[in-house]
């Protein structure tokens, strides 16, 4: 992934992608849970103004599997999926994890296993 870049119109988001453009829900969720709320909020605040453009761009590509996408678009998709992952932290919980929630590491996403 290191030699891949975001599509040119989104090149300025590369520092975010370096941290958040992760391929699986499990990885994105772990990144969320290991980040501070300030880091999550910074990610949200930076990407939100660009999110409409990101989604408009992604609207021109087919859906999953991500492997069907060109590498740059795929990286942008992973970044946008991470935005979906952290949105509840910002807009609902105001903290990285679900308050007093069940351990997400014990809430196994079968859909990831089936896809592989």
């Amino acid at each position: 992934m290191a030699d891949t870049r975001l599509p040119e119109p989104f090149a300025d988001l590369e520092p975010l992608a370096a941290v958040w453009a992760l391929a699986t829900e499990t990885e994105r969720n772990q990144q969320r849970l290991s980040s501070t709320m300030a880091q999550i909020q910074a990610f949200y605040d930076t990407l939100l103004p660009r999110m409409e453009a990101v989604l408009t761009y992604l609207s021109t590509f087919p859906p999953e599997p991500p492997a069907a996408l060109p590498q740059e678009a795929r990286r942008l998709l992973y970044l946008a999926l991470a935005m979906a992952e952290i949105t509840t932290a910002v807009e609902l919980h105001q903290q990285p994890s679900v308050p007093a929630g069940f351990d997400p590491q014990r809430f196994i996403p079968d859909h990831e296993r089936t896809k592989r």
Binding site: S59, A84, T87, F107
Partner: protein, 485 residues
């Protein structure tokens, strides 16, 4: 929702309205009602009342007679302040429920023998998960002390078998899913079975004595399908078919998009709690305002009925349903929420009420514009939560032991057509997952709480009626040796 027209649905007979209460508290008898319109083709009977001025729909209380005209028994029909659903079912009483069924190993063993191995139980799986002939799934059904093989035959039919080789009893299929092609071979001595359970290959068969392969086919497990959901019954000779067992639920949900919404996410969690704790956690929404305060708190606010969030409740012979009040437009329209709605759909704020009149009778049965979702509980281990025409959730819960259970929570959501819609689906998934993590937080804590011995009984609120009913159903099955009462 202000309107000059108030619509009535779900009335089984021709509505015979004897009067209504207006929001002002004034009572209008039939003679003084402005106008009643009877639609031409309402399946269960319906009516609209047109008022000269706009009124708030939920503030009208209908008094009607939908029982018999002879008795002229007045009863509050819909949206009534003060309505107590439990009182419609005097056989259930209003007393507390015992804690023993949640704790006792002896009680659990009775449930195991007389409920879980005698009745139809959901596997949680759908037929499309084994699409091709020879495709199979393996389910470990601890409560039945067996492993079950679900396999699609050449004829397209899905069959269930005990996953046990009939030679020495070894486990036949070892993977939890696969494709058996021309046959499934036991790793122990190489016995091979066809997808329809026939024994078709025995190495060195001539070395057995008086041996006929037809005597050693796989042991079948009663298997049937409803709306694509695969159910099994460990009773070798079930007294009723799956559709008979499901009863009214089949008609009420017929026509819902079960066949058009693909499995989009699925989570499984082992819980150190009794299966009833798990089951109850998804059987009421009294907890919505507290546990899911951020997600549901504002949606559930109902000025007309601050204490009641139930639009409808139906108890069937085994199963039950509840329909919940909620106005998702009241939730905060956050920036991402608005974007998701723009590029796809979000069940948080958009219930998707278009074409509501054509929905299945059992989805939002009161046809309220302030509809949040419906729970259908298929006794004993399956909950369908219908949140929208474009999203439903299926919970399958299975006991392992008296204090261990497995919870599988699944979301069925439209297949994305673009990469942007993959993002909106992810958003819906993460939202549902986080709500479930809130639900999950209560389970093991509740188990520890009742194990402490502090509680001797459960008080049951009106909106926990389905729990009360489910307890009665289980008690009847245990008393009648697992037979339908």
């Amino acid at each position: 929702m202000f309107s000059s027209e108030v619509r009535l649905f779900g009335i089984r007979e021709e509505p015979y309205i004897i009067g209504i209460y207006l929001p002002t508290g004034a009572y209008l008898s039939t003679q003084r009602l402005p106008k009643i319109i009877q639609p031409q083709s309402a399946p269960y009977g319906a009516a609209s009342i047109v008022f000269p001025t706009e009124i708030e729909q939920d503030s009208v209380i209908f008094k009607d007679n939908t029982a018999t005209r002879d008795t002229m028994q007045d009863r509050v029909h819909t949206h009534a302040n003060g309505k107590r659903w439990t009182l419609d079912h005097p056989e259930l009483g209003t007393g507390t429920l015992p804690i023993t069924p949640y704790l006792s190993a002896e009680y659990f063993e009775q449930e195991r023998q007389k409920i879980f191995t005698r009745t139809w139980i959901s596997t949680g799986k759908k037929v499309e998960e084994i699409p091709q002939p020879g495709d199979y799934l393996v389910l470990d059904i601890a409560v039945g002390k067996t492993s079950v093989l679900l396999v699609r035959g050449k004829d397209g039919r899905v069959r269930g078998f005990h996953n046990v080789c009939k030679h020495r009893g070894n486990r036949l299929a070892w993977k939890d899913r696969g494709a058996c092609g021309t046959g499934l071979m036991c790793r122990f001595h190489g016995w091979t079975y066809a997808a329809d359970g026939r024994l078709i290959g025995v190495p060195e068969e001539d070395m057995f004595f008086d041996f006929d392969k037809r005597d050693y086919g796989l042991s079948p497990v009663a298997t049937d399908v409803w709306e694509g959901f695969i159910f099994i019954n460990l009773d070798p000779d079930p007294p009723e078919t799956l559709h008979q067992y499901l009863g009214e639920v089949v008609d009420l949900l017929r026509g819902y998009a079960f066949d058009r919404l693909p499995l989009s996410w699925s989570y499984t969690a082992e819980q150190k709690c009794n299966w009833r704790i798990l089951r109850d956690s998804q059987l009421e929404f009294y907890h919505g305002k507290a546990l899911h305060q951020q997600f549901a708190g504002k949606v559930m606010i109902n000025k007309q009925q601050p204490s009641c969030h139930v639009l409808d409740a139906k108890l069937f012979r085994r199963h039950s349903m509840m329909s919940f009040y909620g106005d998702r437009r009241n939730t905060q329209r956050t920036p991402m929420e608005l974007l998701m709605a723009q590029f796809g759909a979000s069940f948080k704020t958009f219930p998707g009420m278009r074409d509501m009149d054509r929905w299945p009778l059992g989805v939002n049965p009161t046809r309220s514009r302030q509809w949040f979702f419906d729970i259908y509980y298929i006794f004993p281990n399956f909950h369908l939560v219908i949140l929208s025409p474009f999203l439903f959730v299926a919970h399958t819960m299975l006991p392992e032991t008296v204090n261990r259970s497995t919870w599988n929570a699944r979301g069925y959501f439209p297949q994305p057509t673009t990469a942007a819609e993959s993002v909106t689906r992810e958003y819906n998934k993460c939202l549902a997952r986080d709500v479930w993590l809130e639900d999950g937080s209560t389970l093991e804590n509740t188990q520890r709480g009742i194990e402490s011995g502090v509680l001797s009984q459960y008080p049951v609120q009106d909106q926990e009626l389905l729990i009360r009913h489910a307890h009665k159903v289980a008690e009847e099955l245990l008393a009648n040796d697992g037979q339908a009462g």
